[in-house]
């Protein structure tokens, strides 16, 4: 019985949140890794791209809520997603056309593109703050829980409740669907294969008649989808604040690098590695240990390894370790 309680607490505060967070990071890392693999540069503007996409979702959601549209128990934001993706895609394609294409044609060094992406990051960031402000925005509605702690306790008669938030459920389902579609696209369609070919060997791809501008277009479209969805899922689950999305850059890049930059499968694995590490290291294990251990070994303190504020230190530490021992990542990524 005690072990069961321990497991429930563990699931509630560690496993389920980590799975949700890991899915969000995975989607974010996928965007970063695709741009790295195909366009061959590290896109520091990705966090703020997510913020932009989420901002559009929020504005549309508020408008929809204002005119009384709802799809309860699901959050209204889901309806807004396709339109927001469309707007984000336009932003990304515009940025590519007016900013990045110049450097691509010049075959600039990846470092230059990184600095340019810093500039883009600040424009996006300024834009988001300008339109929606710097404060916290909550926009989730619909049912809060798929199953609440109270209901769980009632059903099972246990003294610990297991809660699954709607947003967590949506996150996992959406992530699985999107990843499945993406992998189908990359592995089974002609266009997807041409993108992989382009990432593998650009000269040979050009020789085979693959149109580079088309590949770039599709890449940004996919990034728009991934970034907007990742940002929205994160915003629904936690809340929207522009600065947080900038901070997410570190775990997202850590996830992509840990998995192997340029490798989509790696990005997903990396996302979960980082998420689980962050959650487990900053969680107060007291309750779980109280259930799991015999009485005389029970801890008196919170048994929290690191304070929650040090979350990002965990991503960074993992990143450092991977860089030191296996710089190409868990799954072999690209060498630039």
């Amino acid at each position: 019985m005690e072990i069961l309680h321990a497991l429930i607490v563990l699931s509630n505060f560690v496993i389920i949140p980590a799975i949700a967070y890991g899915s969000q990071l995975a989607l974010g890392a996928l965007g970063v890794t695709l741009v790295y693999g195909i366009l061959r540069f590290s896109n520091f503007a990705h966090g703020d791209t997510m913020a932009f996409g989420t901002m559009i979702v929020i504005l549309l959601t508020w408008w929809l809520q204002g005119i009384g549209i709802s799809i309860a128990p699901l959050p209204t934001a889901l309806i807004a997603l396709p339109f927001a993706i469309f707007v984000t895609a336009i932003l990304l394609l515009g940025t590519d056309r007016f900013v990045l294409r110049f450097y691509r044609n010049q075959k600039s060094a990846p470092v230059i593109l990184l600095i340019v992406s810093l500039g883009i990051m600040f424009v996006y960031n300024g834009l988001v703050r300008f339109v929606i402000g710097v404060g916290d925005q909550r926009f989730s509605d619909g049912a809060r829980f798929i199953i609440s702690a109270r209901d769980f306790k009632k059903i099972t008669g246990l003294s610990e409740g297991l809660a699954i938030k709607t947003t967590q459920g949506i996150t996992v389902i959406t992530a699985v669907v999107i990843v499945a579609i993406l992998f189908w696209f990359l592995n089974k369609t002609r266009t997807g294969k041409s993108m992989r070919a382009f990432s593998d060997n650009e000269d040979l791809a050009l020789l085979s008649g693959i149109n580079p501008e088309r590949v770039v277009l599709y890449t940004w479209l996919i990034v728009a989808v991934l970034a907007t969805i990742a940002g929205t899922l994160y915003g629904l689950d936690k809340s929207f604040k522009p600065f947080v999305y900038f901070q997410l850059l570190l775990p997202i890049f850590a996830a992509a690098i840990v998995g192997g930059l340029g490798n989509p499968l790696g990005a997903i694995a990396g996302g979960f590695v980082i998420a689980f590490s962050e959650v487990t290291v900053t969680y107060a294990w007291k309750k779980v240990l109280m259930y799991a251990l015999p009485e005389n070994l029970e801890p008196s303190g919170l048994t929290q390894l690191l304070a929650t504020e040090y979350k990002f230190a965990v991503s960074f530490a993992i990143l450092l370790i991977v860089l030191l021992f296996k710089p190409t990542g868990l799954f072999k990524g690209k060498a630039l």
Binding site: N201, L204, L207, S208, G209
Partner: protein, 237 residues
């Protein structure tokens, strides 16, 4: 003598704005024949082929395919006209399967290319066996087969190979040359740059010996092999 199927005539030029590497160089391929370009290191062999493919600037001279002047076309456009090119290095997609490599080879085709793929598998049976294996895992000789197979997927009228036997063992080289002869028999003209001059000339209908970007000796493969001068300078006596 009929008009050669592919001819790069009196080509002079170099890379970008650099100095000329080719000086008044002419290379021609008859339909269904194998033409080989040989010569010492730095003679401009690969450069001549790249010039025919449109990868460098020709100061003077032209390139004609089947009577049509294609000097102004980009390499991609020349592929559309029926030229196939197998680079010396990095000529396959290492992260993709053998089958996917062939599919990418046929990228510009809008019709059903399964027939062509079958022909390629007939020509290179080992590729059929390993069709779902990642191309990067194959041996050197097998990778070259993938590279040639990829180029064949567009059903080119002329296939150009840049040092196809570089870095492979003699047995594999023989096998590759056998395959190349098969390809030629099916009606595709072959233009090949080779370091292994002797073996290449043995299978060649026509040979072009280049020295410092100029034509030094031209003739049939047999004639060049028999020529005392050629043997002394390039074939080790």
């Amino acid at each position: 003598m009929s008009e050669p199927f592919l001819v790069g005539e009196a080509m002079t030029g170099g890379y970008g704005n650099g100095p000329d590497i080719l000086h008044d160089c002419t290379v021609a391929v008859e339909p269904g024949e194998i033409a080989v370009i040989v010569g010492p290191n730095g003679a401009g062999k690969s450069t001549a082929m790249k010039a025919i493919f449109g990868m460098l600037n020709l100061g003077s001279g032209n390139v004609k395919l089947n009577g049509e002047d294609i000097s102004a076309l980009t390499p991609q456009d020349r592929v559309l006209k029926g030229m196939g090119f197998v680079p010396q290095n990095q000529n396959i997609f290492t992260s993709m399967t053998v089958q996917e490599n062939l599919e990418m080879g046929a990228f510009i085709r809008t019709d059903d290319f399964s027939g062509t793929m079958e022909q390629v598998f007939d020509l290179f049976p080992i590729l059929l066996e390993k069709r779902n294996q990642s191309a990067g895992e194959l041996s050197g000789g097998q990778r070259q087969q993938v590279a040639v197979g990829r180029a064949l997927m567009t059903k080119p009228s002329v296939l150009m190979l840049d040092e196809p036997t570089a870095g492979v063992s003699p047995i594999v080289m023989d096998e590759l040359f056998d395959r190349i002869i098969e390809v030629a028999k099916s009606g595709i003209s072959i233009l090949m740059v080779e370091q292994n001059a002797r073996q290449a000339l043995e299978i060649a209908h026509k040979g072009f010996v280049l020295v410092q970007g100029r034509n030094a000796y031209t003739g049939t493969g047999k004639d060049l092999l028999a020529d005392k001068e050629v043997r002394k300078s390039f074939l080790g006596g």
